[in-house]
């Protein structure tokens, strides 16, 4: 199969994957938008494992123990708890030969979209979204993120691993079975690269981590939503999405690779609590969430991983797309107060 092409906008320093792997004809689009998300036979439901490529990771229950199985014959197992499979139409595809690996970046502004694109099926139950899931199941999901991050980040052509979730058709979820996605890619993406760079400047100037400082400053602000021993949830000062919130670990770390078991459980609990509050408050809105992290050893001191939740409540139209400036109709202080109230009830 040919690779997807990676192109860079010279002026905006912005990357785009020209996805010939999933290429469409212009006329496909009108039809596509009217299709339903719900399918009669869901490829992610138990029993339909033959509808997907073989799994790269399964968690199985065996004699009341959790077994993590990475062998592909596990495809035939049906009693899985979570299941990770390669995306059938990957945005970033694995190198086929040594030669491919060497030509990841042909030039400064052109390359191949080499990497991995996986789907984590979060539960055997079709509709089990994080706000409704049992806590142990959500801990498996967090564990699955970290297991895949561990494996993918060790590949020599991988510079970043994006872990994200789309909920609802308007937020880009083309299948309604509860799932997340993982994209391993050969460069650090624009937004995260900017954050890492600015965090380095901040650290050099003040000898402190920008996010650790933020946690201290926001601890008593109107933008604090909830916190426990391990995580703080806040509506960021310059949120671009109405009702946006971030989940930030109190322990400084560039990525979640070294999370302890209590921390994993705390993250699962925080996800459940906050996503349930959002669901109750805005009638199950579409949303996206994603983790910002660094796997670069050099960023250890100055970058601080976190998870950003973007409710999909506004349309980014001509002004936003043309200027890169956003209009948010819910002040973060109001978003925080409402989410806080919803969590309490």
């Amino acid at each position: 199969m040919p690779f997807n092409e990676l192109r860079k906008d010279f002026l905006l320093n912005r990357w785009v994957v020209i996805a010939t792997e999933r290429a469409r004809r212009p006329t496909d689009f009108a039809k596509e938008r009217t299709q339903q998300t719900q399918t009669n036979s869901c490829p992610m439901c138990p029993g339909n494992e033959n509808m997907t490529p073989p799994a790269v990771l399964l968690y199985l229950k065996s004699n009341d123990k959790i077994v993590k199985d990475k062998d592909t014959f596990s495809l035939r197992h049906k009693n899985w708890l979570i299941r990770t499979i390669p995306n059938l139409y990957p945005a970033f595809g694995p190198p086929k030969e040594q030669a491919d690996e060497e030509c990841i970046m042909k030039a400064d502004n052109f390359g191949y979209a080499v990497g991995h694109h996986e789907v984590i099926v979060e539960s055997p139950k079709h509709d089990e979204h994080p706000s409704d899931a049992e806590l142990p199941q959500l801990v498996h999901v967090v564990d699955g993120y970290i297991d895949r991050l561990q494996e993918l980040s060790q590949k020599h052509y991988v510079r970043y691993v994006s872990i994200f979730r789309n909920h609802g058709q308007e937020a880009g979820a083309s299948l309604s079975h509860a799932h997340s996605q993982i994209i391993a890619m050969p460069f650090v993406p624009t937004t995260v690269a900017q954050e890492i760079e600015a965090s380095l400047v901040y650290r050099n100037q003040r000898d402190k981590c920008a996010f650790c400082d933020l946690l201290e400053q926001e601890a008593k602000s109107q933008r604090l939503i909830t916190e426990d021993e391990n995580f703080t949830v806040l509506a960021p000062y310059a949120s671009v999405n109405p009702m946006e919130f971030w989940i930030i670990p109190k322990n400084h770390a560039p990525n979640p690779l070294n999370l302890t078991n209590p921390e994993k459980e705390a993250l699962a609990k925080t996800l459940k609590t906050t996503l349930k509050a959002l669901k109750d408050l805005v009638n199950d809105p579409p949303y996206n969430y994603g983790i910002h992290l660094s796997i670069d050893k050099k960023a250890k001191e100055h970058y601080h991983w976190h998870l950003e939740v973007y409710p999909h409540l506004a349309i980014w139209a001509g002004f936003e797309k043309n200027t890169g400036v956003y209009i948010n109709t819910i002040p973060p202080e109001v978003a925080a107060a409402e989410l806080k109230k919803a969590i309490a009830t």
Copy 2:
């Protein structure tokens, strides 16, 4: 009325307007998304002038001559050709007193969203979109853009004027009457600022304008869609939107303020031709377009204005929002070939 607040993301150098002027409660959103765009009594249709604020600019037909009327009593005229009115819920609002004008930017990362937000009603006919409009009517629209740009760019608190159009509800058009919007703002927005800055670097390195060079390079490329004496239309090399195209003037200028009458007519014609091709090809898809320009005298030599059209055919989901990296499923070369074919038929 209180000002909208302007906030800056410290790490991403990204601006957001916290729009208290149009503030919503979280619970408003669920309902709002189901509302219809079409209203029985359209505030932009002739005869409903009393439903909007007084016009700031009208083009009238009088004895077969076009009269441009800037007096507010023109509100009562009903035989207008185009009509510009202040937005009822402005993202950027005019200063009320001298003191306001002086505190546009209170600090580096905070300020007030001072400026103007206007709507240009493009035609007395509700549904007259650019692809169907008569050419003289479209020339009035182009003329209206330039008249408003002329006036707004002279205000001492205005650093940028964004001129854009949303077509279709999915692309953010909340009213279906053919209209564009104009936002005058107190800073140069992120995306345009980056383009201007990179164009300056290009000019310093090569003593040429990046866009003039682009026109030369792309003249025989597969990404060229159409051209005439005055304008070139191409699908940019690193397009982030499927079917995206740009309309670029052949004459170097930082903004369209000095367009000649033949150039205005050529722009109107190019808009009509290309938007009609898009409409025919993808069954009237939603889209946004916007002009990138500079009103800074210092950018005269190195910046080159143009108009970017973004068909709304893909959903920017968790990956795009979290990383700033885009996935485009139609290669620009395919987009160009298809649009070219559609123009020819």
